[in-house]
């Protein structure tokens, strides 16, 4: 029998199939590195998956993810799955999906873009390519060079 490296959680969210090494970025997206966050979190990195590839897993107790958080995770971990756990059972399971337009979740990397001024508008990026992820700002039409750093 395989030994479980991380014990099951009673209630919360399991983010599985994160590309190996990206778990810390997922934690950052979820704000778990902030002092204000009080969720219990377990992280497993470089775990062998059923497909014999390496993956990361993040388990967050007593918390369900917001739509924007899932959109952000899709940017850094397009292969991830989200499992919502209630009373030790998987209540819902789905794959993250890159939206056609990433709205309000990234900052444009172009300092001359109008969205970097104090205008009452959300940033918007069209997904030019899903694999690898390539995004283009709807406003300045520049391609975003560093997606991970641009996540707000």
């Amino acid at each position: 029998m395989r030994e479980l490296r991380v014990t099951p959680i009673k209630n919360g969210t399991v983010i599985d199939h994160i590309p190996a090494g990206m778990a810390l970025k997922v934690l950052k997206i979820l704000g778990i590195t902030d002092e204000s966050s009080d969720s219990t979190v377990s992280v497993a990195m470089r775990v062998t998956s059923k497909k014999s590839t390496l993956k990361d897993i993040v388990k967050v107790e007593d918390r369900e993810l917001l739509e924007k958080e899932v959109d952000k995770i899709a940017l850094v971990a397009p292969s991830a799955t989200i499992n919502i756990i209630q009373n030790f059972n998987v209540k819902q399971k789905y794959k993250v999906e890159l939206p056609e337009v990433a709205k309000g979740i990234l900052k444009c990397g172009n300092p001359n873009c109008i969205t970097n001024l104090k205008e009452p508008v959300e940033t918007e990026f069209t997904v030019v390519s899903k694999n690898p992820v390539r995004l283009r700002c709807v406003y300045c039409e520049r391609e975003l060079e560093n997606i991970v750093d641009a996540i707000t």
Partner: protein, 309 residues
């Protein structure tokens, strides 16, 4: 094709057919643009010109275009004393302009400003240049100049010369020319050569652009020489600037190697890129090009305000 109520933000928002339609309408506007015919189709309409950056040609030609169609243009005297200095957002400035005018032309130093403005305005916004971004009406008047001078755009061999890295005019134009099936040559020193994403964009047509740093490579081949300004501030060393700028100067000697019917264009203002002795030759078309801003902008105003279809 629907133009009424539409914004003019980026050349990429227009299909080849739509752009061609704009050029055809512009051609019909030429007599009125020259003041030889009266056109009152926009009588009672108001254009707001909101320019956060200085401009001579764009602003004057928009004001002229609106006047030639019987409309009026109102504008901000000086952005330095305007509400922006008082900390007003562009969104608020635009909402204000919307209540005073039927259409607004905006020039701003930040990229994407016009697209943002369009979100906040129910009335059409025309991008009059947004920093290093887009300047679609310039691209349209450039296409109009090539089309009227050469009879067609498809198949023309066009060399874009100068600062291709930072020049927004060259970026939008190369995309549009490629869409129309022109053959492109990008002539620039390696440090000022076209950015990769623009080269990629210029592959929308069937012909791949050719890159070179030597003007002499292409001068005998091309039908259109589109010259842009090499800005001094791009060079940390003034001597290096002098040397590079000298390599791309168009003068009578260079033109001896050109095709008889080759035309020279320039978005202006020029500094030293084209020697004044070229002005008197039949190659020089840059002043016609500057005039063409009027009929093209008349066509756009008339189309988006619904005076023509």
């Amino acid at each position: 094709m629907q133009f009424k109520g539409r914004d003019i933000l980026s050349i990429k928002d227009f299909s080849k057919q739509e752009t061609m339609h704009i050029l055809k309408v512009a051609k019909k506007m030429v007599p009125a643009a020259k003041g030889k015919k009266r056109n009152e189709s926009l009588r009672g309409k108001v254009l707001a010109t909101i320019f956060f950056e200085p401009s001579t040609r764009t602003r004057l030609s928009f004001e002229s275009a609106m006047s030639r169609l019987g409309g009026r243009a109102i504008g901000m005297a000086d952005p330095e004393v305007s509400s922006l200095k008082k900390g007003e957002t562009l969104a608020d400035t635009i909402k204000m302009a919307e209540s005073y005018a039927d259409v607004t032309v905006l020039r701003h130093h930040h990229m994407g400003a016009a697209r943002l403005a369009a979100k906040f305005s129910a009335k059409p916004i025309i991008n009059g240049g947004d920093g290093a971004g887009q300047h679609p009406t310039q691209t349209m008047l450039d296409l109009f100049t090539i089309w009227t001078e050469k009879g067609k755009i498809e198949g023309q061999k066009v060399a874009l010369v100068g600062d291709l890295k930072y020049g927004r005019t060259a970026h939008s134009l190369s995309y549009a020319l490629s869409l129309f099936g022109a053959k492109l040559y990008f002539v620039a020193p390696p440090t000022l050569q076209m950015p990769k994403e623009v080269v990629d964009d210029a592959k929308v047509g069937r012909v791949r652009p050719k890159l070179t740093s030597d003007l002499k490579d292409v001068i005998g081949k091309v039908d259109v020489l589109y010259v842009t300004r090499i800005q001094k501030e791009r060079f940390p060393d003034p001597q290096e600037y002098q040397r590079v700028a000298g390599l791309y100067e168009v003068d009578l000697g260079l033109l001896e190697e050109a095709k008889k019917d080759m035309i020279v264009m320039h978005p202006l203002p020029r500094v030293n890129e084209i020697h004044p002795s070229v002005d008197g030759t039949h190659h020089a078309k840059y002043f016609e090009q500057a005039f063409n801003g009027v009929p093209v902008r008349m066509a756009l105003l008339a189309l988006i305000l619904g005076a023509v279809e």
